[in-house]
């Protein structure tokens, strides 16, 4: 039983969500290959080859693959799937975009957001915003899963797999890539950061969000997150949204500032190791899951916190 892991990267750097997906794949099989797709991604493939326990790395490059056109990525994986019993995909926005296509091409179910591999046919996944955990068993010949990477440890380094080139599929003719606007930041990525500082509706404006949340994050070397309310109101970019329908994070420390703690938000951060809530309402639901709660207006609490951090 061999597993194909699809690498997650930003074009230049391999994300450690790939290492975590390798760990999930190893629970299925000892034969784990990694596929890197993109353009100019040789460095990423070389990095993937160093992941401990990887048998070989496949590298496929084209403009459509670089733009992560779902049709192209799924066609590539479908072409390789014959050699594998399972395909494991990090559950990023990109992975969620093409994974169901791979399953449909193979006429099998998608096992989405897997948090535990019980055995080769049995998987645990959260449903209802993580308010329930479903254990499902499949008897399908091939498995296609997206992996909730926060639930798995990262595989180590030390491998020396060979990198093989694979031809890119023909570009999908119904789709044209027009452009992208990516948020550039020197801070750690939300999904990888050890500390996350998130702001909510309480911040009231984009300027205030920047003036309050950013300096605290910078002082702590943290990534910045936000609630849906803050993103909807334009205080923070869409990519910052933590929750059921945004990013799922599980850092060592999560600091929620002016966030009430709706279940949809909790779904994205309740597996953090230590949770801090700063909210002026002592009844806010966020306090029911916070390890440390500070009932105070953020306008006085955050400057005091900055001071106490020195």
């Amino acid at each position: 039983m061999a597993v194909l892991v699809i690498a997650d990267h930003d074009g230049a750097h391999l994300r450690d969500t790939t290492h975590k997906t390798v760990t999930a794949a190893k629970a299925l099989s000892g034969e784990v290959d990694v596929l890197v797709y993109g353009d100019g991604a040789q460095g990423v493939a070389d990095a993937a080859a160093k992941i401990d326990g990887v048998r070989k790395v496949l590298l496929s490059q084209s403009a459509g693959l670089k733009a992560e056109i779902a049709e192209d990525v799924a066609a590539l994986i479908n072409g390789l799937a014959g050699g594998y019993d399972a395909v494991a995909i990090p559950a990023s926005a990109s992975g969620k975009n093409f994974a169901p296509r791979v399953a449909a091409l193979l006429d099998v179910s998608l096992l989405s957001d897997v948090i535990e591999v019980v055995d080769a046919n049995t998987f645990v996944r959260p449903i209802y915003a993580g308010n329930a955990l479903e254990t499902v068993q499949t008897s399908e010949a091939k498995k296609v899963l997206t992996v909730r990477t926060t639930a798995f440890r990262a595989a180590g380094e030390g491998g020396s797999a060979a990198v093989e080139t694979v031809a890119a599929p023909a570009a999908a003719d119904g789709t044209r890539f027009i452009g992208e606007e990516k948020v550039v930041s020197d801070r750690p990525e939300l999904g990888a950061a050890k500390i996350v500082v998130s702001g909510g509706r309480a911040l009231g404006s984009a300027e205030e969000f920047k003036a309050v949340i950013d300096p605290l994050a910078d002082k702590l070397g943290a990534a910045v997150g936000a609630s849906r309310a803050a993103v909807d109101a334009g205080y923070a970019p869409n990519d910052y949204q933590v929750g059921q329908t945004g990013k799922v994070v599980a850092p060592g420390l999560y600091i929620a500032v002016g966030i009430s703690g709706a279940i949809q938000h909790l779904a994205g951060m309740k597996d953090s190791k230590v949770i801090v809530a700063i909210n002026k309402d002592p009844e806010a639901p966020i306090f029911s899951i916070a390890d440390y709660g500070l009932v105070e207006d953020y306008k006085t609490a955050i400057p005091a916190l900055m001071g106490a951090l020195g």
Binding site: A93, R101, A104, I127, D173, L220, Q244, T245, S288, L294
Partner: protein, 248 residues
Amino acid sequence: MKILVPVKRVLDYNVKVRVKADQSGVDLSNVKMSMNPFDEIAVEEATRLKEKGVATEIVAVSIGPAQAKDTIITALTIGADRGILIQTDVDVEPLAVAKLLKAVVEQENPDLVIMGKQAIDGDNNATGQMLSTLLGWPQATFASKVVVENGEAQVTREVDGGLQTLVVKLPAVVTTDLRLNEPRYASLPNIMKAKKKPLDMKTVADYGVDVTPRLKVVRVTEPPKRGAGVKVKDAAELVASLKSAGVL
């Protein structure tokens, strides 16, 4: 131009989820059910396209129990012109939903399917991508802006790291993200009008699709609970606590 909007009946997003004691699933008896919020956004978007004169007809389709009729009526209230309910008591999985929707598409020949990115019960985020694959139509998922002109849709998508813009040739499948629009409130006259709009009742057998679940649900359990924390009196105590917990 005709738009098809699949809508799912789900546990209302405000309702507390209760796992059944026998671990067979989530308790859905006597609780408020509503249209999946992402599908409301999809119906709203279709309605705006109709109001702009881009679309001429909106068909809402739901696969579910008899009560999913209410979900279709909600769609008709927002602005859909007619509804199709494919009635079944089976909990139909995304791949089978996609197959049923493909059969509906082949009968209805819409130019665009707009649907939710994710149903908030199963949280699969799969059906739209699967439907696009089965139809061989382009997909544009997680849309925060849709502009339809000249037989194409320009879609701004919420992706890792920011936004991406694609142009897809119609017919295509678009799935909605939260920022696409804010659905309108139902007005009383529209509720009255909706009740008079046509609603076709169908069965799974009408489409010849096998909806037998492929996945066996072994058990459904509650997630581990976090232990109750403590309240700190000020920022200084917070920092001291975090230092002694070893996270700073």
